[in-house]
Symmetry: none
């Protein structure tokens, strides 16, 4: 990614997360990236193309991080804990990116279908990690519940940050605690 593309990427994440896909204006992305509008179209075929690039890149970061943790020689339970921590850290660093995902997860537009497809790759990774916890203990349904609970935990963090604003305290440690051991 060269300098111009990088600038466009960063501006895109910001604008998409603030305004969603439809609400985002290419004009504003260009302005925030400090390039002319035409430059966006020199590097990306269309708004949708740019959006998909943003998704691919952002999810790529999360997947890379997850793979790094999964590759570590840890006991399954330690590994899932570590994965939680690590991914929540990434989420906090890329808060805006998570917002984009959430705001575009539903619907039948091509871009939304593609996004779900990519997110599924990510979910698959988590599934494997959770699966290691002990095949005899988890049915397929139980694993699914654990995976989507995991995603839900990531979302909780994003929702928390959106709803409590800047003066928020970090509760990610407690979210992990609850995810692993329950609130009771």
């Amino acid at each position: 990614m060269n300098k111009t593309k990088e600038a466009i990427y960063k501006a895109s994440v910001d604008v998409f997360s603030q305004s969603g896909y439809t609400g985002a204006a290419m004009d504003e992305i260009a302005e925030r990236a400090n390039v002319a509008k035409g430059t966006l179209y020199y590097h990306f075929k269309s708004k949708e193309d740019l959006f998909l690039f943003v998704m691919q890149t952002g999810l790529g970061h999360m997947i890379d991080d997850a793979k790094k943790v999964i590759g570590k020689p840890l006991a399954p339970m330690d590994k899932i804990t570590e994965l939680c921590k690590s991914q929540l850290r990434v989420v906090r660093k890329n808060e805006n990116f998570v917002k984009v995902i959430l705001s575009q997860l539903f619907g039948q537009e091509e871009r939304q279908r593609l996004l779900r497809g990519k997110l599924n790759e990510y979910a698959q990774l988590i599934r494997e990690c959770i699966g290691e916890l002990g095949v005899e203990k988890h049915t397929e349904k139980e694993t699914s519940a654990a995976v989507f609970g995991f995603l839900g935990t990531m979302v909780s963090a994003a929702v928390y940050s959106a709803m409590t604003g800047t003066q928020k305290k970090d509760i990610s440690g407690l979210l992990i605690q609850n995810y692993l051991h329950g609130i009771l």
Copy 2:
């Protein structure tokens, strides 16, 4: 709510959930509600006004349901379990509504701020219910984590349904289980 308004409400939920706020066209809402475009503006001042009405109404349903459960004379632990079940049932019945919330939760537009405000009222209700579990055991931060974990669980259900499509199995029981007792 008379017949026309009802039709507009239902059409709005569908269209907003499919296309988000900005992507939704008043034209399409009118068409799906089988009324002329002008009729929308006879009943609602603006698109934003309509959106806020939809939010108020939809969240109203969830709050009503929650209050009903909270009003029951149950032990705190049983009550929170019952609340989970009941709310997940509502979520499943109003899947589209939850999608609208999620897609419009972030951003600095007036409607988004108002939505977060309303959602906060809902969160407050959950917070009280969780607080009953035993004040001595929960710090403010812990309660927050439990509340947002609760919201995250609702989201998990919606995300699950979005990503697995029609042939999905119901995992809400397991989601509750995990929320209350953890995945480990």
Copy 3:
């Protein structure tokens, strides 16, 4: 065709004939028709749609005129002469329309293919009239040559008017004369 649509039609013929299809700006059509840009799109799905409407309507006028002549109880030779005269009169009254046709006759765009298709219906009409002159005398090829010569005569009139400007003398009588009896 109501008042608004009529105004748009007239403005369209003018602008399309002056600037061609691609060169014509919807903005300018709107301005000349004294309506807002949005109004164009209320009445026509797209620029292409508007263009096709213009073609259909314009060729319709010529076809109607031709049919009127063809319906007359005249000797074949008199009829073809009458047809020449009558059609040239229409061409002169709708000079701009003929320019649009010529400027859009070639190319592989959908609109251009459709235009050629419609023009073929017109050519077919001429072909029948020429065919009446005496089947035994004309081979298929000869009829074709006569038909396209006819079209060429119409075009000659338009080209003449474009190239000699306003102070032109009317030469349509001579064009007919030449078409029927040759220049020699």
Copy 4:
């Protein structure tokens, strides 16, 4: 004309004939000529400049051919017949070029005025040749009609080829026949 310019010329004729002047993209001309976009501007000041070069060159070919025939020591009637044949041959070989002329003949843009100017030089040549047929027999108006009939015959050939497509039979002989002796 060196190799690069030659390639640009050929690509230009193709693209201009397929898309008209406004519809033609410098990008596509560059691509078809296998040069970078910047190269076009190294050889030509602007799109209009390139267009005018194409017109000048193409009409130059037709004028050269016409002059060759006119220079021959033939009887006026034979000469005009020969001219018809020869020019129709050129038209068939440069079909695309004729399409560009026709699609750009009308309108008030500078390039269109210039094109008509150049075409007038060509028409003048034809006029002289026709004039030789016998001044006593032709009034100025009659000569004009014969000249524009000649142009119309060329156009007929192009229109015929556009409308009947690839499986067309050659009717140029008949077109000449009709032009000289009429269809009756």
